[in-house]
């Protein structure tokens, strides 16, 4: 019996084996699409930007302070005003979202009952799911009129309104991810601090906050990255005036808003205006890419090990 020849070879039993081998390649193909996407993005952007930079010098692009790409007789291509606009929105929205989001996370993780948390957290997350164009509408129809009441010099389009709505939009990114990080701080650490006579305030700020710092920082970076790339809200709210100004109530233009302007406007393929789209897109991509790398680095560098 035990010597009876037995066939355990692959071909001998073909039920599902072909599908089995095919599946592996198909699934790998699906995963490869993501790599192809990145490649395509880089290729498209670099390709367009190369054309652009054959006309415009890198020095002019990165150091010029005047952005007039459409001027017929003397166009100038200093990206600084656009980067400045993006920075104003980013910094402004971070100033709103980071403190509010962090405090919200502390409240949800340390103070709120689990019932409150279960209701409030997803409610706040709705904010992140509302289409950005709605935020643009909201800024124009609600925020800016209020700002104009407070500070009459406020323009119809202003950086402040843009920063406020973008800030509101990214609050849940900060609060949810930070809250996750704080909740994953083991209770044993809290107990240790309480056992030493720490107050709840001290436990929250001196123990939980530092212990979840990497998660919180990663949340900040992700939120900032989102603010940098935010498009429709700032296009509608902050305007289309590429200028370097310190006045938050003045109009600005972000890189993304410029892209929309060109995208909807009269830029013909091959024109310098069209090519500038790719140069700006590449700059934007590089900025968000750096933010992503930063966030990965934070996570790996400061990975919490509690044990």
């Amino acid at each position: 019996m035990s010597t009876e020849p037995i066939d355990l070879s692959r071909n001998g039993n073909d039920v599902g084996t072909i599908g089995d081998r095919l599946a592996r390649y198909i699934f790998f193909g699906c995963a490869a699409v993501t790599v192809a996407t990145t490649l395509a993005i880089v290729l498209v952007l670099v390709n367009g930007a190369t054309d652009f930079f054959s006309t415009v010098s890198l020095t002019e692009f990165f150091t010029g302070t005047d952005w007039s790409p459409r001027a017929a007789d003397n166009p100038s291509f200093g990206v600084l005003p656009l980067v400045w606009g993006t920075m104003m929105i980013t910094v402004g929205s971070a100033l709103i979202a980071i403190p509010i989001g962090t405090l919200t996370a502390i409240y949800l993780s340390e103070y709120a009952s689990s019932r409150v948390r279960r209701v409030v957290k997803p409610t706040l997350e709705i904010l992140a799911g509302i289409p950005t164009i709605v935020y643009g509408f909201f800024a124009l129809s609600f925020i800016t009129p209020i700002l104009q009441q407070i500070y009459p010099g406020t323009g119809t389009f202003n950086a402040a309104a843009g920063a406020i709505v973008v800030g509101v939009m990214i609050i849940p990114m900060v609060s949810s991810i930070s809250e996750d990080a704080m909740s994953s701080v083991p209770d044993s650490l809290r107990n240790a601090a309480y056992g030493l006579g720490a107050t709840k305030f001290e436990v929250s700020t001196q123990v939980v906050l530092p212990a979840s710092l990497s998660g919180i920082l990663a949340a900040y970076v992700l939120a900032i990255s989102r603010a940098i790339g935010e498009t429709m809200a700032v296009t509608l709210a902050a305007g289309a005036l590429a200028q370097v100004t310190m006045n938050p109530f003045a109009e600005i233009q972000t890189m993304t808003a410029y892209m929309v302007e060109i995208g909807t406007g009269d830029a013909s393929v091959g024109s310098i205006g069209y090519q500038s789209l790719f140069a700006i897109g590449l700059t934007l991509f590089a900025m968000t890419f750096l933010m992503n790398v930063l966030s990965m680095w934070i996570r790996s560098r400061y990975r919490e090990e509690y044990e």
Partner: protein, 305 residues
């Protein structure tokens, strides 16, 4: 859900091109489709220049243009064997807008406007702009500038005719693709000046006022007109408001005229455009022009049927 009536005609007509002209073509298309509900006339607005590129590549069958075709674009079309018909369909006036409380500035000459809007202009306040023989003292307040964005035909036209060359404009003006926003900008600040389609002004008369233009170098518009002219329906349709009124066109692909639904659509366009133009804050081209173009169209249709 089907709306409108079925005339038996069927097919797709892709329309693209000027942002500015889009509302007019869209309205014509809308009305056409109520009568021919199996024809899908979709209107996009990627801009006059981008539109011409697609037009030359036969990606679209009807082009909206806020300016005549350039030599380069014409060449491009010819290379691809695209023959076209240019039809003037609306007139537009570019209005200069100010805040309702601005009672010092009533009229500016084209030269003054050029000095004000050109790139590197050193005029910063209304006082800087004040003409020598003015009755009133103009406030020493900084002017803020609004206008259509650099990607628009309106911008091209305005800069070309006011500052002398396309794209020559001060770089602290705020350009937007949405004329509505220009109105809002003007309303928001007493010391603002802006330019945009005149039609938008008439939709928002409470929010802004017009500045008249004095075209000293231009043709004399005639006795019935003052030197300072504001854009009104009369002044524009009589082409007296100069240099800031301009015609806009559709470009029709001759080969497409072989399609009955396309034919019908272009006919319908010419028939209705005078009326639709006014509904979307443009101005009607004169009856004679329409009549002439109809003949041209019918002749072209002959060739293709």
């Amino acid at each position: 859900l089907t709306r409108g009536e079925d005339s038996g005609l069927e097919g797709e007509i892709r329309i693209d091109g000027s942002n500015t002209l889009r509302p007019n073509s869209a309205l014509v298309a809308e009305q056409f489709m109520w009568e021919n509900n199996r024809v899908q006339a979709s209107v996009s607005a990627s801009g006059t220049g981008a539109g011409f590129q697609q037009f030359a590549r036969r990606e679209i069958s009807l082009q909206n243009a806020s300016r005549p075709i350039t030599d380069e674009e014409a060449e491009h079309c010819r290379e691809n064997g695209v023959e076209w018909l240019e039809l003037e369909v609306v007139l537009d006036g570019i209005a200069l807008l100010k805040h309702p409380d601005n009672d010092w500035c009533e009229c500016l000459t084209v030269d003054e406007l050029g000095d004000l809007w050109e790139r590197g202009s050193d005029i910063e306040t209304w006082a800087d702009l004040e003409p020598e023989q003015s009755d009133e003292e103009w406030p020493d307040e900084e002017i803020s500038f609004y206008g259509r964005d650099a990607a628009s035909g309106t911008f091209d036209y305005f800069t070309e005719h006011i500052t002398g060359s396309v794209g020559n404009i001060r770089n602290d003006y705020s350009g937007t693709p949405d004329t509505n926003n220009i109105i809002r900008g003007v309303r928001g600040n007493e010391y603002t000046i802006g330019f945009g389609g005149a039609g938008y002004y008439y939709e928002n008369e409470a929010d802004a006022e017009l500045i008249a233009v004095n075209y000293e170098d231009g043709e004399d518009p005639g006795d019935e007109w003052d030197d300072c002219i504001v854009p009104t329906r009369e002044s524009i349709e009589a082409e007296a408001y100069q240099p800031l009124s301009r015609p806009m066109y559709i470009y029709v692909r001759r080969d497409e005229l072989a399609r009955p639904e396309y034919r019908e659509f272009v006919r319908f366009y010419l028939e209705n455009t005078q009326e639709t133009a006014r509904e979307v804050q443009f101005y009607a081209v004169p009856d004679e022009t329409i009549a002439d173009q109809r003949e041209t169209l019918e002749a072209a249709i002959e060739d293709y049927t």
